[in-house]
């Protein structure tokens, strides 16, 4: 969750109001909700329990989970007001996350 915390801290209040951050994971809603409260950030956590959306976007890391289950490839996408992809970051090593400053720059460049 490091990248989410970093991104939340990097955005000003006005910018938080001007951009919607949607966090997609296969996690059950209850756990994500608990996380949202802990971080006190204006994120919308949505559950993709069967990875249907992750799969349609071609972002499944097959058998990449702790117990050999399919998991999402960590990915950050910046979409402009028209819903067009303007910036895209896809992990090739699960230790690495996008630098919040880079995401912020992509948002500010819109």
């Amino acid at each position: 969750m490091g990248e989410l915390q970093g991104l939340g801290a990097a955005l000003s209040e006005a910018e938080k109001a001007g951009v919607e951050i949607i966090a997609v994971s296969p996690d059950p809603n209850a756990r994500s909700h608990e996380m949202a409260q802990r971080l006190r950030l204006a994120y919308r956590f949505v559950a993709d329990s069967d990875l249907a959306v992750t799969r349609r976007y071609g972002l499944v890391h097959a058998r990449g989970g702790e117990h050999g289950e399919d998991v999402p490839t960590p990915t950050t996408v910046v979409l402009d007001r028209d819903g067009i992809v303007r910036w895209l970051w896809i992990a090739d090593n699960f230790q690495v996350r996008p630098d919040p400053d880079d995401v912020l720059q992509a948002v500010r460049a819109l």
Partner: protein, 131 residues
Amino acid sequence: MTRSGWLVALSLLVSAAAIVVYTQFLHVAAIRNNPEGYLAAFAIAATIAGIAVAVGRRWYAWTTLAVVLVLLLGSATFNFVLARIPEAHTTLRVGERPPDFTLTDADGRPVSLAEYRGKKPVVLVFYRGYW
């Protein structure tokens, strides 16, 4: 303390510092995103332990060299093999509009990309649900 002893202490200190920095400061992007940092630290620690063995062939120098080499090989395997994610064959393209979706949020309300069209930019984050 012997010269070998000092070198052993230095080698262990460098290793311990790498472990502490990497585990305690994972939230700092510069540390999290450069796992090569701990590999470099273990490589330096192994070199120092090797010198410790060369200057005085003490049992503790050999032991330290063995421990630090295990750390180096283990972390290299983790970083270069286990942590690797095969290239995603994503359908997302910069300049294109991805297909819409509707998923439910933590309060059970539907969330779709279309509801933000013409209103707000969206940052979409896919994550694994743990760490």
